[in-house]
């Protein structure tokens, strides 16, 4: 391998990139714009759960209970029902997530110091929101019991659970979304940057010119990768700065470690994109292959939204070949946990394997074309 020839290929690719200012601007602006856009848009925080109320008790106690739901900050009364039969229409039409039914004898039971049944009907179709609503409702009622039933013979509970949240103390979904988003967006962008570079040379007929020069195929692949690696590193740097300064996401780990692991990750995904490009030869097929192999896997199999631990074993096996998986662990680990090489070395090794495999595959696929 000759470094001069490698750099010459890199310079040629850079010049080509510079001649297409629109694409170049897009390559720099897109990741930043997407992180800002989605950083604002995405939130898992469940607040203002819409409550339907059927108050058959119409008493001071029932009003105090409804007040407790609203006062918790998690619920807003969206609709009031007159009959239990309306609950189906209310939940079915998404006018409320939870319908609270307070039976006529609620106040009497409570005053007499008896158990006072209450019913909560949930729209279970969205299981995540429903689970959270369920827990909040339970907490509100428990709180209500200790404050209101205390006079009627209630006692404070003998056990107190002290829950502390680590890494993301206020449980803000933005702190989880932004680091993950950087990983997902970069794996998609990287494939997009390189997926067409070789297919395009092939379709435009410039491949023969490249083949006629003395450059070795490894020099071509690495030389073509180099400018994109630089772009990718700048992209990540911009996205990290935006995450920390615009969204206030904590950055607890080492900048240097993130830079090093980002480099490994970029080599892997860019190499993979180039492999697709070299293997299919046509821009149409390269597009389709790149989208099918990067888009949804990066979103759904990376642990960004859906925890890998909850997937069936066979699928967990598949996630090991999704590079975004390792990088999501890296960004979350460095941003939020502040962990170092002692924890992230497993992901680092996996990404080294990936980078070598991506480049080797690209080189191998490239040889076939030249022969």
């Amino acid at each position: 391998m000759n470094v001069h020839r490698l750099l010459a290929v890199a310079r040629k690719e850079a010049i080509q990139l510079r001649r297409d200012p629109r694409s170049l601007a897009l390559a720099f602006a897109l990741p930043l714009a997407l992180v800002l856009f989605f950083g604002y848009a995405i939130s898992f925080d469940v607040k203002n759960i819409e409550l339907g109320v059927l108050d058959e008790s119409r008493s001071t106690a029932s009003r105090a209970l409804i007040e407790a739901f609203v006062g918790s900050g998690y619920f807003t009364v969206a609709t009031r029902l007159d009959r239990l039969d309306d609950a189906g229409a209310v939940l079915g039409g998404r006018r409320a997530t939870l319908v609270l039914v307070i039976p006529p004898d609620f106040a009497e039971h409570l005053a007499a110091g008896r158990p006072a049944p209450l019913q909560a009907l949930l729209d279970g179709s969205d299981a995540s929101t429903a689970s959270i609503a369920q827990n909040y409702a339970d907490a509100v009622v428990a709180q209500f019991s200790t404050t209101h039933a205390a006079g009627a013979g209630g006692r404070a509970l003998p056990l107190d659970s002290r829950i502390r949240i680590w890494y993301n103390e206020t449980l803000q979904s933005r702190n989880m979304v932004v680091p993950g988003l950087v990983a997902v967006i970069m794996s998609i962008i990287a494939a997009m940057l390189t997926a067409l570079t070789i297919a395009r040379e092939w379709e435009r007929g410039t491949m023969e010119q490249l083949a006629a020069t003395p450059v070795h195929r490894l020099e071509v692949v690495l030389g073509k990768l180099l400018p994109y690696v630089v772009i990718g590193l700048v992209d990540v740097a911009l996205a990290v700065v935006a995450g920390v300064f615009v969204f206030g996401v904590p950055f607890r780990g080492s900048v240097l470690l993130l830079a090093g692991l980002t480099l490994l990750f970029l080599l892997g995904v860019l190499g993979l994109g180039m492999f697709i490009s070299a293997a299919v030869k046509s821009q149409l097929l390269a597009t389709q292959a790149a989208i099918l192999t990067t888009y949804l896997p990066a979103l759904l199999l990376s642990g960004f939204v859906f925890a890998i631990a909850s997937m069936p074993a066979a699928l967990r096996g598949i996630t090991y070949v999704v590079p975004a998986r390792y990088y999501v662990a890296v960004t979350k680990g460095i941003f939020l946990k502040g962990v170092g090489v002692d924890v992230l070395w497993v992901d680092a090794v996996a990404m080294i394997v990936f980078a070598s495999a991506g480049i080797a595959l690209a080189v191998a696929a490239f040889r076939k074309e030249l022969a």
Partner: protein, 373 residues
């Protein structure tokens, strides 16, 4: 048959021949959607079950074991490790081996009898949605445990909340999420097959051949759309069957509601794809435009982030997203058995989006043709 219909029929036949000719394209059209639904259908699971938990029990009494049993019996927590020191909890959470650390201090049983016991629970907040839910469960479990100690299992005085979830009693997230995967897989297919369609013919020069044929611009677009629409509809039927029979997603509503919704959704998807194709000068531009369209279409659809949690401006923006409306229809028809009475706004929105996108695509194409570039 009118001459126009004949021309479109010929064009459709030609397009279908072209699509079915290449084995890789055939695979992409029919194998990819099935593989995607099966793989992602298993992935889209956000249930809080068996959350990996590390335990440090420094009391080792009947009471402390009873509390641990209460945690595991709930099904929400699974003890993956028992450690001696609190430092082990730090390591387990740092490495991601456990999401929850539970520490029972010495003297727990004594304090419980005296009415002032505490347990320390730490949670990994990096997955904030899961941590929020797990936190709620942990509180409920300790509360129920404490109440039982006081009353000896008898329902105590005071409000007694009974929760019941409709439509999905076990609160399985997959039931809600698989219909979302259906919507996205179909959109992806429609976009992949159309967004490069026109620009590719323009780039490789075959558009000139179509230009000298008697086809009018509208007919040409129709001829491009119809075959892909039919393929997407076939895909939809195929993967819906897998969702129902393989993933056992209940189909409570009527296919008669689902089908028109699906047709409108596919038309809207094709419309956006063609729009991308007609505004792009090169395949690369079309590729980037597709990327730019897909990501917000998926993320702002309510698939995994509830729309109601978004800032208001973004909530309005999602009204332009066909995925959002189709998801509303699919989920309501599958899980709740709803019909047109509640879903008409979604149908109106999809009709508007489909006609707008297709209309603009035809108009742009015709204008470009008239200018002759």
């Amino acid at each position: 048959m009118s001459p126009a219909a004949l021309r479109v029929r010929e064009m459709v036949a030609k397009e279908l021949r072209q699509l079915f000719r290449d084995v890789r394209t055939r695979g992409m059209m029919f194998v990819a959607p099935v593989v995607q639904l099966v793989v992602f259908g298993y992935a889209v699971n956000s249930d809080i079950r068996d959350t990996p938990t590390i335990v440090v029990d420094r009391d080792r009494t009947v009471e402390s074991r009873a509390l641990l049993d209460a945690f595991t019996a709930s099904g929400y927590f699974e003890i993956v490790a028992i450690a001696e020191t609190p430092a082990a909890i730090v390591a387990a959470l740092d490495h991601g081996h456990a999401m929850v650390g539970l520490e029972i201090p010495p003297g727990f049983a004594r304090d419980l009898a005296a009415g002032r016991a505490t347990v320390q629970i730490v949670m990994d907040g990096t997955q904030s949605d899961a941590a929020t839910t797990a936190q709620g469960y942990a509180q409920r479990i300790t509360r129920a445990f404490a109440r039982d100690r006081v009353t000896g299992g008898v329902t105590p005085a005071g409000p007694d909340l009974r929760l019941r979830a409709w439509y999905n009693p076990n609160l399985e997230s997959r039931v809600y999420n698989v219909p979302g995967v259906i919507a996205i897989v179909i959109l992806l297919m429609a976009l992949l097959l159309t967004s490069l369609a026109v620009v590719r013919e323009r780039e490789i020069g075959t558009l000139d051949q179509l230009r000298v044929s008697p086809l009018r611009p509208g007919e040409l677009i129709l001829g491009k759309t119809l075959p892909v629409g039919l393929i997407a509809l076939a895909d939809l039927a195929l993967i819906s069957a897998i969702a129902v029979f393989w993933f056992e997603i209940p189909l409570r509503g009527s296919p008669v509601v689902l089908l028109p919704g699906a047709i409108l959704y596919i038309l809207a998807g094709l419309g956006f794809g063609l729009l991308i194709s007609t505004v792009s000068n090169t395949q690369q531009e079309a590729f980037m435009a597709m990327f730019l369209f897909l990501l917000p279409a998926i993320i702002l659809s309510g698939f995994f982030y509830p729309i109601s949690s978004m800032p208001l401006a973004f909530q309005h923006l999602t009204l332009l997203n066909p995925v959002r409306h189709f998801l509303g229809i699919v989920r309501a028809v599958f899980l709740k058995g709803e019909g047109y009475a509640t879903l008409w706004p979604q149908f109106v929105a999809l009709t508007a989006l489909a006609s707008a996108s297709l209309g603009v695509a035809v108009w742009r194409f015709a204008r470009r043709e008239a200018r002759g570039d």
